[in-house]
């Protein structure tokens, strides 16, 4: 006899609100029904009622983890419409912020995954490492969550002391190599807990439009930083880790190796940070108007491709701001990954797609 287990929207075991109904046959999950929208804030509606400059502050609050990529994508789309060209130094600073954001997001995910695997020591280690990144972000921007770094035509703050960030990075890279990689790549307990669990095949990932580390763990090699480079990514050398097994272990491996690649990118960007201004001159306040037209910008957020489409009618308020976040595509894959799996594995499987409900709901 099958039975339904309703989980959420508010549940002591879930950090963010969503609702999942698992239809089980004994301990085996036979189907899943997902409901989202509990964090719906109407960001797109609100963005069409604020001027372009207010919009930057608004979209930075789409997400509390990957806030920078939202203001970055928004600004890059407006720059396409206005023709504002950020100076070289600003492009490099944007890369630094993006990779620091990816690192702290991946470390957060790694900690959550470790906790669900039952490896709480690693959870503590991941969050200790994450603090180093938060310190670096705080030193650069003055903020730990919403950095307020991006402006139309560049960035608001310079990196005054790149060496200080490099010193934090050296320490972090050493700890990732010595703590995270051996556990996520070689530990037999982790492997036995995650191997063959929550498989998303390449065909399923393609059909569901999956993006980011989730897709790359299922054999889809695309990374927007390589496929359609933005900022200064075309000048950075880095690999895109890809696994083919599509299980939770593959997602662990991809996340761990992506952290190493982020460190490589940060070293390059900070060591070759060009001299010069950090933003182009643009009119301020109500004098800032955008020519009529439409622009799209894509960026690789920690969880995958973000898309911003902005349509201008020539005024200081956008006619349309479209925000397509990575979890909006990835979340629905949970229905495939929990099928036929043990009920006890479902929390880990759900978490392994690195969901962000705040991003999804907007």
């Amino acid at each position: 006899m099958s039975y339904r287990i309703p989980i959420g929207p508010y549940h002591p075991a879930l950090e963010e609100p969503y609702k999942l109904e698992l239809i089980c046959d004994g301990e085996t999950v036979r189907d899943a029904v997902m409901n989202v929208g509990f964090n719906f804030r109407g960001i797109e509606y609100l963005a069409e009622r604020r001027n372009y400059l207010q919009g930057i502050t608004l979209v930075e609050r789409v997400c509390g983890i990957c806030s920078n990529v939202h203001s970055l994508s928004y600004c890059m789309a407006v720059e396409q419409l206005t023709g504002a060209e950020p100076p070289e130094r600003a492009l490099y600073i944007r890369v630094v912020l993006s990779e620091l954001e990816r690192l702290h997001s991946h470390l957060l995910w790694s900690g959550v995954a470790a906790k669900l695997i039952g490896f709480k020591t690693v959870f503590m280690a991941c969050f200790t490492l994450r603090e180093k990144i938060m310190d670096a972000l705080s030193a650069i921007s003055g903020n730990r969550v919403n950095y307020g770094m991006n402006c139309i035509g560049g960035v608001n703050r310079d990196i005054a002391d790149p060496q200080a960030v490099l010193n934090i990075l050296d320490e972090l890279e050493r700890d990732i190599q010595h703590i995270i990689l051996p556990i996520f790549l070689k530990d037999r307990s982790v492997e036995s807990r995650c191997k063959g669990v929550g498989i998303l095949t390449k065909e399923q990932a393609m059909a569901m439009g999956a993006v980011g580390p989730l897709a790359r763990a299922s054999g889809i090699s695309q990374d927007i930083r390589k496929a359609a480079p933005y900022c200064a990514y075309d000048r950075m050398e880095f690999n895109v880790p890809v696994e083919t097994s599509g299980d939770v272990r593959a997602r662990l491996v991809v996340h761990a190796l992506e952290m190493v690649e982020s460190c490589h990118i940060l070293h390059q960007a900070l060591r070759t940070l060009p001299e010069g201004p950090i933003h182009a001159k643009t009119p301020s306040g109500a004098r800032f108007k955008v020519p009529a037209g439409t622009a799209i910008c894509r960026a690789e957020a920690p969880r995958g491709e973000v898309l911003y489409q902005i349509t201008s009618n020539g005024t200081d308020i956008p006619a349309r701001v479209r925000v397509r976040t990575p979890t909006f595509m990835n979340m629905a894959t949970v229905r495939f990954t929990v099928l036929g799996q043990q009920l006890a594995d479902s929390p880990l499987i759900q978490a392994s797609c690195d969901p962000c409900y705040s991003c999804t709901d907007r």
């Binding site: 989202v36 929208g37 719906f40 109407g42 797109e44 509606y45 069409e48 009622r49 396409q80 393609m206 059909a207 569901m208 439009g209 695309q222 390589k226 496929a227 359609a228 480079p229 933005y230 075309d234 439409t294 622009a295 799209i296 910008c297 894509r298 491709e305 898309l307 489409q309 349509t311 006619a319 349309r320 479209r322 397509r324 909006f328 595509m329 629905a332 709901d361």
Partner: protein, 140 residues
């Protein structure tokens, strides 16, 4: 900024994606036309393109402009169509990735996607009014 790959338009035409294509700011845009969205989706899936998004925009004459965005080998293709009747065939049965996008577009712009078995609300709850982004004033 990434640049337009050579002969890409020609390869699009040879792939059965006719029409006038324009490279603009890093993406390919096809001139709006009365598009058979289901035939186009079938073609895109056959080409192993990845569904990215549906972006609706309200035009001044109450027409709803719809951009269907697909990623083909890293190139973002935007295929535009429009509806005055606010009804357009679904592609969710062809591309499951479009399911949430269609449900969301219905909630924001009151566009009905015909041929779906059901269209459950995604961001709102059952019984809530649709067409959120068509509202002209903030409801207090």
């Amino acid at each position: 900024m990434n640049t337009a790959p050579e002969n890409f338009v020609q390869s699009l035409q040879e792939s059965g994606l006719g029409g006038d294509w324009e490279w603009k700011n890093g993406s390919w845009w096809r001139t709006p036309e009365a598009m058979d969205v289901r035939a186009t989706a079938t073609r895109m899936i056959a080409l192993q393109a990845r569904f990215v998004a549906i972006t609706a925009v309200e035009l001044p004459d109450k027409e709803i402009h719809l951009d269907y965005q697909w990623d083909l080998n890293g190139q973002l293709l935007s295929l535009a169509t429009a509806t005055k009747a606010q009804r357009i065939p679904t592609i969710a049965d062809l591309s499951p990735a479009a399911d949430w996008a269609e449900r969301e577009t219905r909630e924001y712009f009151a566009v009905e996607f015909t041929g779906r078995e059901s269209t459950q609300p995604l961001m709102t709850r059952a019984g809530d009014p649709i067409g959120i982004n068509l509202r002209k004033e903030v409801v207090k």
